[in-house]
Symmetry: C2
Subunit: 362 residues, 2 copies
């Protein structure tokens, strides 16, 4: 009897195997044998022989094949408990119940971790470390299945969070699927006027970054969670249509101020700023806890390193870095994000080391 069977040795399944292989006897299965070999070669575990019984079975398969695979494994009596990692929960649970699988031995879950890369070669034992991992037991989930799913998430170093399938799907719709859709829609508008992007600044770059994601993969995610994402996208469209109406009024108003239309514009921007203040920058800390210090540097190898060495020697922890290249110029600007109290000591230390700190008031 193995401790853990992982079905599906892609990025997620292989990463779970790598995270727990020192503590558990892991066996691996995949519809594509080469992917099992690749995972075994990474040291993720042994290939499953198709018969060995296992304490827990983790289905790390595409959602479309999950219910059928679960049913087959349960009929063969392979596992005592079962879990899965689907990025959308309610639809999968409904299908599991519809095909007549045993829902008592199953607990769905979703680790909020990943990569734009895929496959067993991209897997990492550290993929889940410190990341939220949402457990979504259904009303039918039994105690042993819930405990097994929680133990596995904890063994991977994740922070375990418990939500219902509906709460989970609503949450990821808001914090992951809606930003993806908005970024894609803004980036798609750039095709209207390709030359305009040459005047783009860091605002456009950040706002559209996730629009580079794979359209096929995201179509699957959005289709699976359509019931939750659809209404949010409609609300976003409604907010923007209301803003467009206010801007039409302002465009036609000429010199006459239109307080109501301005109010609509300011209200959306102010709500946006409030919403943004909810987004954690680090460990529950937020934008307002940090300040930026800008330094002008020659654009050549080693400048960023030298700058950060100066910061480290001053004992200041740099939380984040933004590098701004200046088109056609031999210099760039590096912005260092530091905790509020660290800004002035850091500025003095860097100036003492000869760095060109850009003067600001903040």
């Amino acid at each position: 009897v193995a401790d853990l069977l992982i079905v599906g040795t892609g990025l997620m399944g292989t990463s779970v195997a790598l995270a727990v292989r020192d503590e558990r006897d892991v066996v691996l299965r995949d519809a594509t044998p080469d992917r099992v070999s690749a995972a075994v070669a990474r040291g993720a575990g042994r290939a499953w022989d198709g018969r060995e019984r296992c304490s827990h079975v983790l289905l790390a398969t595409p959602p479309a094949v999950l219910a059928a695979e679960l049913l087959r494994l349960q009929r063969d009596g392979v596992g005592r408990t079962y879990g899965h990692l689907c990025s959308v929960q309610a639809g999968v649970q409904a299908e599991v119940e519809a095909v007549g699988a045993d829902a008592a031995s199953l607990c769905g879950s979703h680790p909020l971790a990943g990569s734009e890369r895929s496959g067993p070669e991209a897997a990492s034992a550290e993929l889940f470390a410190g990341r939220p991992w949402v457990l979504c037991p259904s009303a039918l989930t039994g105690g042993p299945a819930l405990a097994a799913a929680g133990d596995l998430a904890a063994a991977c170093g994740a922070e375990v969070v418990r939500l219902t399938a509906e709460q989970h799907d609503e949450t990821v719709a808001l914090v992951s699927h809606l930003p993806q859709v908005a970024a894609s829609a803004v980036a798609a508008r750039l095709l209207m006027h390709p030359a305009a992007s040459g005047l783009a600044g860091p605002g456009l770059r950040d706002t559209t970054r996730v629009a580079a994601s794979d359209p096929a993969l995201w179509t699957d995610v959005l289709a699976l969670n359509a019931a939750q994402v659809g209404p949010l996208v409609q609300l976003l469209a409604d907010d923007l249509a209301e803003l467009a109406r206010a801007l039409r009024v302002l465009a036609g108003a000429g010199a006459r101020p239109s307080a109501a239309a301005r109010g609509v514009v300011t209200d959306l921007l102010a709500r946006g700023r409030s919403g943004r203040s909810l987004v954690p920058v680090k460990r529950g800390e937020h934008d307002r806890d940090f300040v930026r210090l800008a330094v002008r540097v020659p654009d050549r190898p080693g400048q960023l390193a030298g700058l950060l060495v100066s910061a480290a020697q001053a004992g200041i922890n740099v939380e984040d870095v933004r590098v701004e290249h200046l088109p056609g110029r031999p210099t760039g600007v590096i912005e260092l994000l530091v905790q509020r109290g660290g800004r002035d000591p850091l500025a003095r230390a860097l100036q003492g080391d000869g760095w060109d700190v850009v003067p600001t008031t903040l």
Copy 2:
């Protein structure tokens, strides 16, 4: 006769003064005398006495007072030529003509540079270095005014671009004002469900970054450019409403696949990826020219510095850095953006120095 009078010693006006003070005799005026004193204290130039004649006058005032100020200065015969720096051009030009100012001696322009900070203390001689600076001569602008505006932009180290006022306003609507509006609208949606933001990842963080901007300032910008931004916001709203309709179909379709609705979703995502590929990452190079290398590090001072020292010693130029903190864990992940050919040598060099390079296939 001074070379340059700058009217309005805020961030922009004082930065121009600092950029050209070694080559030109600069005099300064502001409606608030303390701001002139602050700019003089920064070494930006002399206080204007209210009578001295000047070769060129740069109006770095709020757009709302620009036409009246220009008219007054022209009636006093202060300058030979005039320029301004407004972030929206067509409306200001119309107002200049409406108040009866001399449009032949005026050339509008807009440097695409700035800061979330303001005031003369935040000014920098390097603010415009390598940045696009758009000249927007009107049909009435004379040769001397156009030449003076171009000379000033070049003296500030900017890359001079020439557009009509309408082209300019359309361009900034697309690459600056539309992303701002979208980021605010997505961030505003987070207020529906504040606890959800705790599960946010880097996608939400980047997509909503500019939503932290000042609502009052942005209301002015959007109102001034309402004629250009309004239709774009409407198109964005229409795209999202169409997507919401497709998601409604997919949510109701159950097991029956809906190829047309999926096609709508994939099409928007694919257009978004194409649009994103137009956004320059650096000097006209794009995302596809670069790859990321991820390294796991202890979350304590000096790690980022040490890592970049290793990269510099390997002779690899790191183009950008992304720091990913892992909530509740003593480690973080640093992603280094390097040119495609530099990735493998860098990975080998870092591993040789004992760094924990996260294995990936890309």
